[in-house]
């Protein structure tokens, strides 16, 4: 039987197991929306801005490990998703974006709501398609999902001209994808794995440096097993938080610009750095010339372009992180010299322990009566015991949420790592709450960032998504203000948020709950009440205004040149 393009789209989504689509209708996709009520197994979440749709799909993908799906119309609908697409691309998040397009005969004629979205998103998608023929539609959708979730995951965009959506074709969903030009290497080279193990065996001061690849390949169990078995301490990037339990003795905390003293010193002093699913980003390495100066480097990454892009690598392993760690585990178990591999390395662990004790993450608690933002994050951890899904906006709130909350499990921190997208956290939290209606989902926000996608309050209300927004309200674009303070002679140009809405009243205006906290003693009881009320809630915590994120490695400095509290 022949189906319309719109019907083919829904049948294909069902074949891919899609249960949630975040979208916003328009003229170019009206036929898809016309078809939608006949497919109740696919729930559509109507956002209030397309940026909300793409971030929600991204948050859904990060929280579940599945592919997030976003559907928008042509022109402005499509361009409004570009920030979110770039965000997903930088963090390697699997998302498929369907954009409407003007009818094929009008393409190129500057038609109403026409834009070359395939051209615009070429540099920020893993791949993208303009479907010109309805008979190709099912095949393209199959490929799009396959590309999005395999190899190094990423966003894939499918542009759908209106006439293609209206045209009819026989529906036949391909069973397999065969692309001669796309064959990611997933299995590690056994010799390289053996070389890696030999290097670990010889190392006196080894260190795991793990990133988002461990999360996306679901290899946290293997990582934890190996680290414990081999007595190798672990540090993670922002994207890697949660891939090693935050309460384990071998855990050093995050590394990089706002990394812990112990993690950054460990990088500088280690003799073997085992990078797993991490890409040596500039926020991690600081000055490249002096990064991990004494270390041999093992680099495991599914994307060959990550390897040797920034640093020299002694043992490159191009493969899926999980398959590599499984292979390493097998070789450890079969090793003829388990003692050499698994020796205690007492000097190294003792040194690290000293660093952790002497320079823990800290802040001046003070007795000024002000609320310290770090204390708020600590309280969130205390109340949730690491069981919540935390999303963050971008800036100081994000770094405090990374530093002062102990992530025990992967996929419990949703944060814009690579692109640093203000406005990400709240819609991402919506996506996560859609996936896990019964879990506590908390967006740690700043008063600046939250205003970038605040309109999604309506979305959360509409679908009864009880996300908690905790605003660390310091009246500033705090991270830029911190830079201005430290490196620009306190020239606080354009970082004071002179005028902000009354967030409590704003919450109420949307029909949500709103609380304001100004007294340190009230932080815990109010958060407790908010987390238990079962409703969409804003907690506006008025925190000390000029608090800074420490430690801090100034941009371009070496990791050991940290500014401490």
């Amino acid at each position: 039987m022949e189906l319309t393009g719109a019907q083919i789209l829904f049948e294909s989504l069902k074949k891919e197991g899609v249960d949630a689509v975040f979208g916003f209708p328009g003229g170019a996709v009206i036929d898809i929306y016309d078809e939608m009520p006949r497919h109740p197994e696919i729930r559509h979440y109507l956002v209030r801005h397309e940026q909300g749709a793409i971030h929600a799909a991204d948050g859904y993908a990060r929280a579940t490990g599945k592919v997030g799906v976003c559907l928008v119309t042509s022109g402005p609908g499509a361009t409004n998703t570009v920030t979110g697409i770039a965000n997903a691309y930088m963090d390697s998040i699997p998302v498929v974006i369907f954009t409407g397009q003007v009818p094929s005969p009008l393409i190129g004629n500057d038609a109403f709501q026409e834009v070359d979205i395939v051209g615009i998103t070429r540099p920020c998608t893993k791949h993208n398609y303009l479907v010109k023929d309805v008979t190709r539609l099912a095949g393209v959708i199959k490929e799009a999902f396959y590309l999005a979730r395999t190899g190094r995951p990423g966003p894939v965009l499918v542009d759908l001209p209106k006439d293609v959506i209206q045209a009819r074709a026989e529906f036949k969903y391909p069973r397999q994808v065969r692309m001669r030009s796309y064959n990611p290497t997933l299995t590690p080279n056994a010799k390289q794995v053996a070389r890696a193990l030999e290097a670990i065996c010889q190392a006196d001061r080894p260190l795991f440096y793990v990133g988002g690849g461990v999360v996306s390949s679901d290899s946290h169990r293997e990582l934890t097993w190996l680290a414990k078995k081999l007595n190798v301490p672990v540090t993670a990037t922002l994207m890697g938080l949660g891939s090693f339990p935050g309460h384990e003795p071998l855990w050093l905390g995050m590394l990089g610009m706002h990394g812990t003293y112990a993690a950054n010193r460990a990088v500088q002093e280690c003799d073997l750095l085992i990078a797993v699913g991490a890409r040596f980003d500039d926020r991690v390495t600081g000055k490249l010339a002096t990064f991990a100066p004494n270390a041999k480097v093992i680099h495991i990454d599914v994307d060959p372009t990550s390897i040797r892009k920034n640093v020299r690598v002694d043992v490159p392993i191009v493969a899926d992180c999980r398959e590599t760690l499984v292979a390493l585990k097998a070789q450890v178990e079969a090793a003829s010299d388990p003692k050499g591999l698994c020796r205690a390395r007492k000097d190294w662990t003792a040194t690290l322990k000293t660093w952790k004790i002497d320079h823990p993450l800290t802040y001046n608690g003070g007795d000024s009566g002000e609320i310290k933002p770090q204390a708020v994050v600590e309280t969130i951890y205390e109340l949730t015991k690491g069981e919540a899904i935390i999303s963050t906006e971008v800036g100081q709130n994000q770094m405090w949420a990374a530093q002062f909350y102990n992530y025990h499990k992967p996929r419990t921190l949703l944060t814009s790592g690579g692109l640093g997208t203000m406005g990400y956290g709240f819609p991402a939290a919506i996506g996560a709450q859609v996936a896990f209606p019964d879990k506590l989902v908390i967006d740690v926000a700043g008063d600046g960032s939250i205003q970038m996608c605040i309109q999604e309050m309506a979305t959360a209300m509409c679908y009864d998504l009880p996300v908690k927004i905790v605003i660390l309200n310091n009246g500033y674009l705090g991270m830029v203000r911190q830079w201005q303070e430290l490196f620009y002679k306190k020239n606080y140009c354009a970082t004071c948020m002179d005028w902000a809405p009354d967030f409590v009243k704003l919450a109420q205006a949307y029909g949500a709950e709103g609380y304001r906290v100004t007294d340190p003693a009230q932080v815990k009881p109010v958060l407790k009440q908010a987390f238990g009320n079962g409703k969409l809630t804003i907690v506006d915590v008025v925190v000390s205004q000029e608090e800074n994120v420490y430690p801090m490695v100034p941009a371009g400095a070496s990791l050991h040149e940290m500014l401490l509290v």
Partner: protein, 159 residues
């Protein structure tokens, strides 16, 4: 260092802009780039000449391979290869200049493909060095127009 890359791509709309966009977006340099069909109608061959330090060349090749529409990338610098480029040059050829230009055409085994009372259009084929030499020699007669294809390359059978 200069590298010549042979890039097999899916013959589909937008593939050139994917490649060109990769170079411009990442700040790589394209010296010459040309595209043509292969025996397989679904596949095109791009020949890209680019200059960069070796570490950057390695990234360029890896980034090209990462594009979903790229089937194969061969670095011709890793092989013994034949490299050729074609050029058309329109040269001022009034009066007694003409004989000397024709001598140069003869020495370099070029062809005159168009003539007018005061101009000669010359077709030349060769590697980059040869074409540069011809340009240098013809310049004093006044080159009015020039069109070069950029390099195409092929591995020699006997490596």
């Amino acid at each position: 260092m200069r590298h010549v890359l042979s890039v097999l791509v899916e013959n589909e709309p937008g593939v050139l802009s994917r490649i060109a966009g990769l170079f411009s977006g990442r700040g790589y340099n394209i010296e010459t780039l040309n595209v043509g069909p292969t025996l397989d109608r679904e596949v095109s061959l791009m020949t890209i000449a680019t200059s960069a330090p070796e570490v950057v060349i390695e990234q360029i090749i890896k980034q090209l391979r990462k594009l979903v529409t790229v089937i194969k990338v061969v670095d011709m610098n890793d092989h013994v290869a034949v490299e050729r480029e074609m050029m058309l040059a329109k040269v001022g050829a009034e009066g007694d200049k003409r004989a000397e230009i024709l001598r140069i055409v003869d020495i370099f085994r070029c062809k005159v493909v168009d003539v007018s009372p005061d101009e000669l259009t010359i077709e030349a084929t060769g590697d980059r060095g040869k074409l540069d030499a011809i340009v240098a020699l013809l310049q004093r007669f006044g080159i009015k127009e020039i069109a070069r294809t950029g390099a195409v390359a092929m591995k020699r059978s006997m490596q």
